[in-house]
Subunit: 354 residues, 2 copies
């Protein structure tokens, strides 16, 4: 995690999968967004990076496509290339749901930067960003409703259930942020991260399994795999949010610490009982000093989280969650060859360099 | 419309239909809201009037159930009692979509009162009101995804398409409100009202037709009936918003005029070319005077709208839209006996006394 840019041995395979996914899913995704009426289309095209704010074409920067890649990899692992091809629309639906939540989360959290660009609400206002999110949710479920695949109704039922869990996760996130630093438990932030991040990665894998005609036990195992991998992903994402290179994260340095965000490593440090925990709690109880010595303050806070064991705990917990993910995956897909694509993706998202 | 409290001859039949609808649909609706996780459930139960803000039980005041009543009446008109019984879940889904849009619209419009109670965002904050709206949309589509009825996927496709139209309508509403009073055409507000109000009433009727196994032409005719009746409804609602009794509307007297809302009668007056139109435009270009002589100002503005023909136009246009609605209905259901339930509902919503 310290400045290395080379991926793990299978990093290249995962990168190739993500690229293939974009090639398969982007046309479906873009056609869906293009089908929206004028005002919603404009915001959607901007948010996905296909247009600049003034409506002129842009190169596109629609994110890493991890969730649709999981849908396609799960379908392929359990049903071969035909299942993968049949699941493209479901993969686009999952990506639309992910982006609907990003649009709304950015409004609620007042985040101003997303994928190195100004967030939609800063460009179009709160009302239009909320409406565009609403429209993307509807669009996601329209793709499934119009999909003649025999699994599409069960997929829609799972995806809507997942949206409700995402809402609960975002509620918990916002509620936990309002509490005092010493009034939050590690179990609470872990449950929040599972609902906010794990649920959709699990749902992506489950939808792929459904489109491969898998039975309920295998669908549940794939959901468990995605959930645990999702938690590992969130743990690493939080580590990168504190100790990562801002040129790669697309966020200002130390933004999470400056916002006093109760991320997983921070809460682990706060609740560690280690000698530095009390100092950290005191730092976190004060708002971030906006003027003077800012870099020093961020560095001191990061060091306090590290000294109280927050960084080590997050890395170890991520490894543990990955082990659980592999266990779930092996239950459904014992053949390592068949499971390879999903594993490569999980390793990719949890081992990406800072 | 002038103080009479007695309904039209068929008002009693419509009232009975609405009451039957509540009895059939409320248990389904309430079970769906109760199935939400804790935080979203609490906001949902409050919004529907089943709980007070502190979580204690309330008598319930979930609105007039016009949309679910249209679903059931359309199903019964085209498929008899069995189709009506089969369409209860679809009726609940439409009502959930309606309430998701109310939650979000109230946040965007900063409306503080809904059904004589404080709006959800004033009680729970913007974040939770937005999330509860998101969860209700997901819940609506989960009801359809889990419905084994052969029409449920086509119903979901229509309902999601309708949500997108509702978003466009709300966008147009907010965008038109930001323009100068003399920069809005009547066609623009009519198109906005069709998208924002007509679309969901049309969709409700279309879903009932789908659940009755109707062919595409009849489904389209029912959609047209609902749309035109919806426009008539909006026209009358706007009239009531200016000249209605606040004890019945649940809104403060003259709220629409005080907010300088570009409702249909106002835009008709502004664009009438009548001698009073210029005075009205001048009044509307100034913000409403918050202090002193408020009632007088509201009364003067209402009189200006009336003198420039806004009230008469809205009443005549509502009658015209109702005639078009009946025309659409007769195309699909020539038998007046079978069409009676739908007609009674349409008459009820467009003739309700002020």
């Amino acid at each position: 995690m310290t400045g290395s840019t080379a991926g793990p041995p299978d990093g290249q395979e995962a990168a190739a999968q993500l690229e293939r996914t974009r090639a398969l899913v982007d046309p479906e995704l873009r056609a869906a967004v293009e089908s929206l009426p004028a005002s919603m289309r404009r915001i959607g095209l901007y948010h996905f990076g296909w247009q600049h704010a003034d409506g002129t074409p842009a190169a596109g920067n629609a994110g890493k496509a991890i969730r649709p890649a999981l849908v396609l990899a799960a379908a392929a692992a359990l049903g071969g290339p035909a299942a993968r091809a049949a699941a493209v629309r479901a993969a686009a639906a999952v990506e639309l749901v992910h982006n609907f939540t990003l649009l709304h989360d950015d409004v609620m959290d007042r985040d101003t930067t997303r994928r190195h660009r100004p967030t939609a609400w800063t460009v179009f206002g709160d009302t239009d960003a909320i409406l565009a999110g609403d429209a993307l949710q509807a669009l996601a479920l329209r793709l499934l409703a119009e999909d003649p695949h025999p699994a599409s109704a069960r997929a829609a039922a799972r995806l809507t259930t997942c949206v409700i869990e995402l809402c609960e996760g975002q509620h918990a996130d916002s509620e936990l942020e309002q509490r005092a630093p010493d009034a939050v438990t590690l179990d609470e932030v872990l449950a929040m991260a599972e609902a906010k991040t794990g649920a959709l990665l699990g749902c992506a894998c489950a939808l792929g399994a459904l489109y491969a005609g898998a039975d309920e036990a295998d669908v549940a195992a794939l959901d468990g795999f995605g959930r645990q991998a999702g938690l590992a992903f969130q743990l690493i994402d939080d580590v990168i949010g504190i100790w990562g290179d801002p040129r790669r994260t697309g966020k200002p340095v130390g933004a999470d610490l400056a916002a006093r965000k109760k991320s997983l490593p921070v809460v682990a440090a706060l609740t560690s009982g280690a000698p530095g925990a009390a100092d950290l709690a005191e730092m976190y109880a004060r708002p971030y000093p906006r003027e003077g010595g800012e870099d020093g303050e961020i560095a001191r806070t990061a060091l306090a989280v590290e000294r109280a064991g927050g960084r080590d705990w997050a890395q170890a917990e991520a490894a543990d969650r990955m082990a659980r993910a592999v266990q779930e995956l092996t239950r459904a897909i014992p053949d390592p060859e068949a499971a390879g694509g999903l594993l490569a993706l999980a390793e990719f998202v949890t081992r990406r360099s800072s």
